[in-house]
């Protein structure tokens, strides 16, 4: 056996065995080898069934505390779970933003009643959330949002426009940031609301207009809120306190995908090697150097992940071993450059797409990678974060307020 660079505790090893055994016993053959598609697909039913199996066995929302239906897993344990799902070659599903964003916000800031009301439906899949944070005029400057929330009796009435709403085609809930106090400073006066898309079976003033991306696919939408109503009970963390709620993240999330992120990249790398070989280009010195460069990037991602999890597994904090921003910069720029190179290597063939603008892996990734340095904080914002928060360089003076 290859020696492991991570020394797991007995409990962690036991957990690994438990996951492995469960998967061996419960993962149906029909989900083996499935890759979760980016958009609606004919796999959806199989994946939904698999998600229900996972939910029942407690393999969804695993980082949530057990008292809220989660499993209270640490980052290291999540990484173990990811590894085992990978080894079994079955999709490691989650409840998306409901699991990663809404749940943690409710757990940190919700009332007991809200926790009872909103957390179980996330796990069961009954509530499927899409995101209502971004606005067209706000961009990276999220706090400059303009959607308004006006109290009307027991309801909050929302009006405004959101954008980059992903997963809209399957959602029945949307979590929204809106301005409930226009007179307060930029970061105050914002509220965090859970808004149902329908009330009493009737539309609730939420309209999606799909946005086609440069790949030709429409996986995001503009969202128009026109007098959409949510009970005030759906405001998390209290009125005007939404910014803090929105900034909630799971404290224990480091680790997670650190040891498995490279797997897909490695598969992709060898796919490129195969294609290059098939074209008889593998002997070309420059091609070899470019491939070696790519392999180095993938290995660096793997090694950085191992170092982090090794530290966490040993009881460390992971300090100094990277963070969300440096990791994002690393993989997003790698993927971008790799796909540029791949297109060049594949030559004339790479200029031809399928009917209906159907793109192959390289073409699609070549285009999609342009978005990776935009969503979730542009590459420029990520560099500011690294410089200011990690290196302690002074903040840019921002005339419009703090960031």
């Amino acid at each position: 056996m290859t020696p492991s660079p991570i020394e797991y505790t007995a409990a962690q090893r036991e957990f690994r065995a438990e996951v492995r055994d469960w998967l061996a016993a419960n993962a149906p053959a029909e989900v083996r080898g499935l890759r979760v598609p980016r958009g609606p697909s004919d796999l959806d039913e199989r994946l939904a069934a698999w998600a229900a199996t996972l939910a029942e066995a407690g393999y969804l929302c695993v980082a949530w505390p057990t008292e809220y239906g989660g499993r209270g897993l640490t980052g290291v344990e999540v990484s173990i779970m990811n590894e085992e799902f990978g080894r079994a070659d079955v999709p490691r599903l989650t409840r998306g933003m409901g699991e990663s964003l809404v749940g943690p916000a409710i757990i940190a800031h919700g009332t007991d009643e809200q926790k009872r009301r909103f957390l179980p439906p996330i796990i069961s899949g009954e509530h499927d959330y899409c995101q209502g944070f971004s606005e067209p005029d706000a961009g990276s400057d999220l706090a400059s949002l303009r959607t308004t929330g006006v109290v009307d009796g027991d309801d909050l009435v929302l009006t405004g426009q959101k954008v980059w709403t992903s997963g809209f085609w399957k959602a029945n809930m949307i979590f929204v940031l809106c301005r409930t106090n226009p007179d307060a400073p930029k970061h105050h006066g914002i509220s965090y609301v859970l808004l149902p898309l329908e009330r009493d079976g009737r539309p609730n003033g939420v309209e999606f207009r799909p946005i086609t991306r440069i790949t030709g696919k429409a996986l995001f939408a503009e969202t128009f809120l026109t007098g959409a109503r949510a009970p005030l009970d759906n405001v998390i963390g209290g009125l005007d306190n939404g910014w803090r709620v929105a900034m909630t993240t799971l404290g224990s999330e480091r680790g997670g995908s650190a040891t498995t992120q490279h797997v897909a990249f490695l598969r992709q790398f060898w796919q490129l090697v195969d294609e290059v070989r098939a074209r008889g280009l593998i002997g070309d010195v420059r091609v070899r150097e470019q491939l070696a460069w790519a392999y180095t990037q993938v290995e660096t991602i793997r090694m950085a992940g191992l170092a982090l999890v090794a530290d966490l597994a040993g009881g460390g904090t992971g300090r100094g071993l990277g963070n969300g921003s440096t990791s994002k910069i690393r993989w997003s720029e790698y993927q971008r450059r790799l796909t540029e190179i791949a297109m060049d290597l594949l030559g004339p063939d790479a200029l031809v797409v399928g009917d209906g603008y159907d793109l192959d892996h390289w073409q699609e990734e070549f285009l999609v990678t342009r978005s990776h340095t935009i969503w979730g904080g542009t590459a420029e914002v990520q560099r500011n974060i690294v410089a200011e928060r990690v290196l302690g360089l002074p903040k840019d003076p921002a005339p419009g307020g703090t960031r």
């Binding site: 961009g139 400057d141 400059s144 797409v353 603008y357 342009r370 005339p399």
Partner: protein
């Protein structure tokens, strides 16, 4: 003839710019993109009316007798407008083959805009250097006959005249095909530059130039095509930089225009440096095509690679500076981005052009 832009060139350019603004706005480009041919015959005729197709054709063959220097300016405008259609194929590829082959038959048609032409040479599944690998031509009892397939043919669906580089024994020969064979659209990543696959099975054809001289004619054509493609890319790059700068002046984030942030500023400044250099090279190459052809194989090669880098960077940065909106189909940034990448790859990527340059320098 001076390298400096003449008043006449400036006026021609302005005329073409106005014509394209009127007849080929990006909304029209998008309509054409949705078709297999992306060809607007009326706009083509309009350009012919302005004398574009005949600019570099000698007067003796019905042209205006100007040169590629003039054409480069026009093509810069076409690149900025993302003009779809067979201008590069006709003027960049076919015309120089005809000129180098001293062919008189087809030149008047090209000059007048009557003839849309292209050149076919790539083997299906082959690389940019697969000239003639899948095509053979022979002089049979029934006359010259062409068989085989060509892939990635620029504007192959609409060309009235296809010049095919096909194997004749160990060498290759250019033959003209006006009809016959099967033409299949190849949906293109860059929808503004349609591609086709052509299949020939014993199709009648006529040699253009000397039998066995195909490789030389193709090389010459690629130098000219590289020169005009460089000009087109420079025009596109300028358009991208203009878009990015225009947006950076008005888009506010954190209470100020994003153009105030050094990250945006320096991106734009670097794009300008690259574009200025590429523009100098592209215009010089066009000058050399007219005035000092001996220099063309070197300068066309480096101009193409420089323009490709400048365009791709400017187009990519334009997407980035626009943020999320720049990643939507609705916004025009992606049209340039795809054109930039496809142009960078066309005839060979930057590395391939560097190698070609090293060879031509005799290193």
């Amino acid at each position: 003839m001076s390298l400096a832009t003449t008043t006449e060139q400036r006026e021609l350019r302005a005329t073409v710019r106005r014509f394209l603004a009127d007849r080929m706005p990006l909304t029209r480009v998008r309509e054409l993109m949705a078709t297999d041919t992306a060809f607007d015959r009326q706009v083509w005729d309009g350009l012919a009316g302005l004398g574009v197709q005949g600019l570099a054709v000698p007067q003796a063959h019905g042209g205006a007798g100007y040169g590629f220097g003039e054409l480069a300016h026009v093509v810069e405008e076409c690149g900025a407008a993302l003009l779809p259609g067979p201008l590069l194929a006709t003027i960049g590829l076919a015309l120089p083959v005809l000129l180098a082959a001293d062919d008189h038959r087809y030149l008047p048609g090209v000059a007048s805009g009557r003839t849309v032409a292209t050149v076919a040479w790539l083997a299906p599944g082959g690389g940019w250097d697969s000239a003639g690998e899948s095509l053979t031509v022979a002089n049979t009892d029934a006359g010259w006959r062409l068989s085989g397939s060509a892939s990635t043919v620029l504007d192959g669906l609409v060309a009235d005249l296809v010049l095919v580089v096909a194997g004749t024994g160990a060498a290759s020969t250019v033959v003209a095909v006006e009809s016959g064979g099967t033409r299949t659209a190849l949906p293109a990543l860059d929808q503004t530059r349609p591609l086709a696959r052509l299949d020939f099975d014993d199709v009648p054809c006529t040699p253009v130039g000397r039998v066995g001289d195909g490789a030389r004619l193709l090389d010459t054509a690629l130098d000219t095509a590289g020169t005009l493609l460089a000009a087109e890319m420079v025009g596109g790059a300028r358009a991208c930089l203009d878009m990015a700068v225009g947006y950076a002046k008005v888009r506010e984030q954190f209470g100020r225009p994003i153009g105030q942030f050094q990250a945006v500023k320096h991106k734009c400044a670097e794009a300008l440096v690259a574009i200025e250099g590429a523009e100098a090279a592209a215009r010089y190459a066009a000058w050399a095509a007219d005035e000092n052809p001996a220099e063309l194989p070197v300068v066309a090669t480096l101009a193409k690679a420089s323009a490709a880098q400048a365009y791709f960077r400017a187009a990519a940065d334009n997407v980035q500076i626009h943020g999320g909106i720049g990643f939507t189909w609705e916004h025009d940034a992606h049209l340039y981005f795809k054109r930039a990448k496809a142009s960078l790859m066309l005839f060979g990527d930057v590395g391939a052009y560097r190698r070609r340059l090293a060879d031509r320098l005799g290193l």
